[in-house]
């Protein structure tokens, strides 16, 4: 009786999870395995392909443009992550107290998050435009500049312009993550601290910050991984320019595969990106894990 019951359990459970597992198997695990397989081939987008062993990887090691794009992605990540963090932490403190106004502010800060990255990029390209854009117009009105700024003319200013856009778009997201951690801290801790004479700064420094370590780890992981996958904003706002100076890894993979038709080579790059992402997930979660 018990045996047959658990058998029926197993069959029913298996039937319930089978459809979604099948989807994940076909559209996730198959392409994942294909990435490895394809990376070992000289594989053009169309036409005959041939096994080439580790040739793609050997070439990748010597390919300066790939390492440039990895370094560029890293720089982008190193700029975006602290920008998001600082902005989000300040805003989380501001809207921490419950209340109608706080709710309004939270909603407003979060609204850009739900806009697509591509729509946001198109919008900001226009804000940045030298002829019709509002940013240059405002700066000129304030007599801070005499001529419209060419935001995308130099590599650094293009990068910073995109960082500003992403900060606008994603701060709300990080803010919500931080708010959850902030509100998980029991109110009695603050009360006790106040009784002991701690001021706002002390409460922040000795209660809020230490107790939010795990939340920080979480928000950090999310932001770093998200930044390493950046594509839309660069594809739309800079097209990789000027002089191919703003090409993040995903953009470079996209180009290798679909512009230069080197699918196998692109797959080798994907494998490297995959390894980076997996290592980052583990390292960050390990470094910032809970103490116990």
């Amino acid at each position: 009786m018990i045996a047959s019951l658990s058998r029926r359990q197993a069959i029913a459970g298996g039937l319930f999870v089978a459809p979604c597992l099948a989807m994940i198997a076909v559209f996730f695990f198959v392409p994942l395995a294909m990435t490895l397989w394809m990376s070992l081939h000289d594989w053009p987008l169309f036409g005959p392909r041939s096994f080439s062993g580790l040739a793609n990887y050997v070439q990748l090691l010597q390919d300066a443009s790939f390492w440039d794009s990895l370094w560029f992605t890293t720089r982008y990540t190193l700029l975006v992550t602290p920008a998001l963090f600082i902005a989000a932490f300040i805003l989380a403190l501001v809207v921490q107290q419950p209340g109608r106004l706080s709710g309004l502010f939270r909603t407003a800060y979060f609204l850009p998050v739900v806009i697509g990255m591509s729509a946001a990029s198109l919008l900001w390209v226009w804000l940045y435009n030298d002829q019709v854009g509002i940013f240059s117009a405002i700066l000129m009105q304030l007599h801070l500049i005499d001529e419209p700024v060419q935001w995308f003319d130099s590599a650094n200013s293009a990068l910073l312009s995109i960082v500003a856009m992403v900060t606008w778009k994603m701060t709300g997201f990080t803010m919500v993550l931080l708010l959850v951690g902030m509100q998980a801290i029991p109110e009695d801790l603050y009360e006790a601290a106040r009784i002991d004479g701690a001021n706002r700064w002390h409460q922040l420094r000795y209660i809020t910050l230490p107790l939010m370590r795990q939340t920080f780890a979480l928000a950090l992981t999310v932001s770093v991984i998200g930044s390493y996958l950046a594509f839309d904003q660069f594809y739309i706002m800079t097209h990789g320019g000027p002089q191919n100076s703003t090409i993040p890894v995903v953009f470079w993979i996209y180009r290798a595969a679909f512009t230069y038709s080197r699918v196998g080579y692109a797959s080798a790059m994907s494998v490297v990106l995959l390894l980076i992402l997996i290592v980052m997930s583990f390292v960050q979660l390990y470094l910032l894990r809970s103490d116990d």
Binding site: C20, L21, F28, L101, L123, W168, V180, A184, P210, I253
Partner: protein
């Protein structure tokens, strides 16, 4: 994940003495309270204006007459509100209606696929025992570490082989798959929160497994379903890269692909108003759904993140 606890005895020793210890806390609070609060409100409102301005500006510009929308330097308030830019969208490509339809189809297919599959999967993982269950579940969660951007090229080849390239269905299948791990996780948690007694009562009342799920469980886990559906919609509606790679026929473009291709064609500085109209249209459903279902969205965001 338990938070490390701070004992009260530790605290005073780690905290330096307060510089201006308030003699009478409540008196000080009432004296300083309004100013601090006013400052905070001013700051918060200022930031709110900053965050909302780009969206407001785009929508406002979309209602300017075409000449004003492309004016250099930009003018502030439209001389009159006009639908001109929205009307002009019908001349972009094969007409905006088609692209809206494409995006809507892909989004609905994704929402339906994700919702159905994750409800079934979540229920299976929550309520049944079968061999290797926890291993399989961990494997599903682990796939969240590998986003579609990193296996884009083989996806393209695979969909070619399956004759699903250049098809909205193929696109929806890819979106659904990459939404699934999060959604299964969400739904499993939702089912986990339902007391077992509810099902036992249903079984006693003569419900079988399917009718228990359909009649008894689903109404209880509706918040989870709304969350899962909402995230599926946002992904499908906004995604650019996969659509760019998989869809080659211009009349099958989704909204993001259309807008970016329109932008590269407009790159002479013309038609800025039309562009803003297109952007506004693509923002509208997201903003609307978010404002309407905010609670579910935030709930999902937190649940999805905290698990990590």
């Amino acid at each position: 994940m338990s938070q490390p606890t701070l004992t009260l005895d530790d605290f005073p020793s780690t905290a330096p003495p307060a510089h201006s210890a308030p003699v009478e806390p409540t008196a000080q609070a009432s004296r300083h309270w309004p100013w601090g609060r006013i400052l905070l409100l001013t700051f918060a409102s200022g930031v709110m204006v900053l965050f909302l301005f780009p969206i407001f500006w785009s929508v406002l510009t979309s209602f300017k007459p075409a000449a004003e929308a492309s004016a250099s330097p930009p003018t502030f308030w439209p001389s009159h509100f006009s639908w001109q830019n929205y009307a002009a969208l019908t001349d972009v490509g094969v007409g905006i209606g088609r692209y809206l339809w494409n995006s809507t189809c892909v989004s609905l297919m994704t929402v339906i696929g994700v919702t159905v599959l994750s409800v079934l999967g979540g229920y299976g993982f929550s309520r049944f025992r079968f061999p290797y269950k926890s291993v399989v579940f961990m494997l599903v969660l682990a796939t969240m570490m590998i986003p579609f951007q990193s296996i884009l090229t083989p996806l393209f080849i695979l969909l070619n082989v399956l004759h699903l390239h250049n098809s909205l269905l193929g696109l929806a299948l890819v979106y659904s798959t990459f939404q699934l791990p999060f959604s299964i996780f969400m739904m499993r948690n939702s089912f986990d929160c339902v007391p077992r007694e509810l099902e036992e009562a249903a079984t006693l009342d003569g419900c079988n497994v399917v009718s228990t799920l359909w009649r008894v469980m689903l109404p209880v886990v509706t918040p989870g379903i709304v969350t899962v559906a909402l995230f599926a919609f946002f992904t499908a509606w906004n995604e650019l890269l996969v659509a760019l790679v998989l869809i080659t026929d211009a009349d099958k473009f989704t909204l993001p692909v259309l807008l970016q291709s329109a932008q590269s064609q407009f790159m002479g500085g013309v038609n800025w108003g039309v562009m803003q109209a297109g952007i506004s249209i693509s923002i509208l459903p997201c903003a609307f759904l978010f404002l309407l279902l905010q609670r579910f969205y935030i709930h999902g965001l937190i649940a999805g993140a905290v698990k990590a």
